[in-house]
């Protein structure tokens, strides 16, 4: 009689079977979609900066601020009326990487946890998704700031 393979080999055998059967994400298609949608969002941001500088004589910094605020507002609105997740499903990282992804990550839990109340629901869960980005983003910026300080010194 054949000796049964050890448990570990047995599991490895199954895992190989799983990776053969499980369909893979279409990386090329995903990259392409992310590229063009993300690109369009960035172009929109640039248009907002240029328009504000041309018509309202904003400085570049003011214009950039205006563009960020507008994109965040637009994302929040589209999230609120249930359109943004459809775009995100299509574009993937194309909507996550620009500032729009951050706005969506704040508004979606705010809506989701509203039934649990303003304080323990929306208030407490507001940063569930964006929280880690803030924590490590700020920590990284402090670190870079310290390095920069000593390099320039």
């Amino acid at each position: 009689m054949q000796k049964s393979p050890s448990k570990q080999q047995f599991i490895q055998q199954y895992k190989r079977m799983v990776s053969a059967v499980t369909p893979k994400s279409k990386a090329a298609q995903g990259c392409l979609r992310a590229f063009w949608v993300g690109g369009v969002i960035c172009v929109l941001g640039q248009v907002l900066i240029d328009v504000s500088m041309y018509f309202w004589q904003f400085s570049y910094t003011q214009g950039a601020c205006f563009a960020s605020i507008s994109l965040v507002f637009l994302t929040a609105l589209l999230t609120g009326i249930g359109i943004f997740d459809v775009i995100g499903k299509y574009a993937g990282a194309g909507t996550v990487v620009p500032i729009t992804g951050f706005a969506n990550a704040m508004v979606s839990p705010a809506m989701e946890f509203r039934p649990e109340g303003w304080v323990l629901g929306t208030g407490a869960r507001l940063f569930t998704i964006a929280g880690p980005v803030l924590v490590y983003g700020i920590a990284a910026s402090v670190l870079v700031g310290v390095i920069y300080y000593f390099l320039v010194l």
Partner: protein
């Protein structure tokens, strides 16, 4: 004393063959647009189902399924001696909320997506042993509450992997009874059950639950066929709960490897039955409500009409929690099965 209704290692025999006196299901709008759309007893107009929160909507769907089941059997809540059920929420809250209003003695169960088979399995034993008759076996789930429980906020813009499954919004209720003389002649009964063991083959990807559950399904089927010496071909259908596209294929391959090849043409998966491929549910439907609603809308009517004589109904569950998943723990799978037969006249 020997457990005299036990066959082999994992299988039980229902000596009195509890009758399925009535059954009903209630589902959400997306399920209503699926291939089984016109077979459900109730299709909710919206996922909120007129409630303030999705959790309450889930409870209301379950309660409605029970109410419809009771009225089909022509029985009042007071005459039901036990209700068994569970769902995917923390503290199986939707079932508790439904049971609060039904006021039937309640036993809560948790078997993740295997809950419908688990409630039939345990309910069958209660009924068969003369501890409760009639009794209700239930299970339900809701897409929105499951997403919140296990994944992201609904409006969060993320992509699902191709192997991910879509939690079914739906609930099912099955009434078991020993009473042969009820006015409406029931034509379906429970003959055997097989308790599943927890099987974990080291899958940690919570987006590929079919792969996590397939070995458990294979183990339960092998145990059943070893215990009873039944021929898999003697069943009109061997039905799995929510293995989906990936899991169904793995079940066939893995069972063959374990020495119990399954007849491919007789296999059916509720998760692959409930949605059209065009409904973008990726690898298929999942959740307690998936097996429960397909059982009540599609499988039991077919047995009742005599199209199928003998069916093995097995629901599979991925026993994962977000906490242990984040801790890097792999996903334990489970599968429970019951054998349902048409009553020969």
């Amino acid at each position: 004393m020997k457990a005299e209704n036990r066959i082999g290692y994992q299988t039980v025999e229902y000596k009195n063959k509890p009758l399925i006196a009535a059954y009903a299901c209630a589902v959400g709008p997306r399920e209503g647009q699926g291939p089984l759309g016109d077979q459900f007893d109730l299709v909710a107009q919206s996922p909120e189902f007129g409630q303030e929160s999705y959790e309450k909507a889930e409870a209301a769907l379950l309660r409605e399924a029970c109410h419809i089941c009771l009225s089909k059997a022509g029985k009042g809540e007071k005459s039901i001696q036990a209700m068994l059920g569970g769902d995917l929420l923390n503290q199986i809250m939707a079932s508790s909320l439904a049971a609060r209003e039904l006021k039937i003695p309640f036993l809560g169960l948790y078997g993740a997506c295997s809950t419908m088979a688990e409630s039939l399995l345990v309910g069958g034993m209660l009924c068969d042993g003369g501890y409760a008759s009639p009794l209700l076996c239930t299970a339900g789930s809701h897409y929105a509450t499951a997403e919140r429980q296990y994944r992201y906020p609904l409006e969060y813009a993320c992509q699902r992997t191709p192997a991910a499954q879509w939690t079914v919004t739906g609930a099912g209720a099955v009434m078991l009874s020993l009473d042969e003389n009820s006015e409406k002649k029931p034509r379906v009964r429970l003959v055997r059950g097989c308790m599943g063991r927890v099987v974990d083959m080291g899958i940690a990807d919570a987006n590929n639950m079919g792969a996590a559950m397939a070995p458990a399904a294979a183990a339960t089927l092998c145990a059943y066929f070893d215990d009873t010496k039944d021929d898999p071909r003697s069943f009109d259908r061997i039905i799995t709960g929510d293995l989906g596209m990936v899991g169904s294929e793995l079940l066939l391959e893995w069972s063959e490897k374990l020495g119990h090849p399954l007849p491919e043409e007789k296999m059916m998966d509720c998760g692959l039955t409930i949605f059209h491929p065009s409904q973008d549910s990726h690898a298929g439907g999942s959740g307690c409500g998936c097996a429960a609603s397909v059982l009540c809308a599609h499988i039991l009517p077919k047995i009742e009409r005599g199209e199928w004589k003998k069916v093995l109904f097995m629901a599979t569950g991925a026993l994962l929690s977000p906490t242990t998943s984040q801790q890097g723990e792999t996903i334990p799978g489970i599968a429970h099965a019951v054998v349902i037969e048409g009553v020969q006249e």
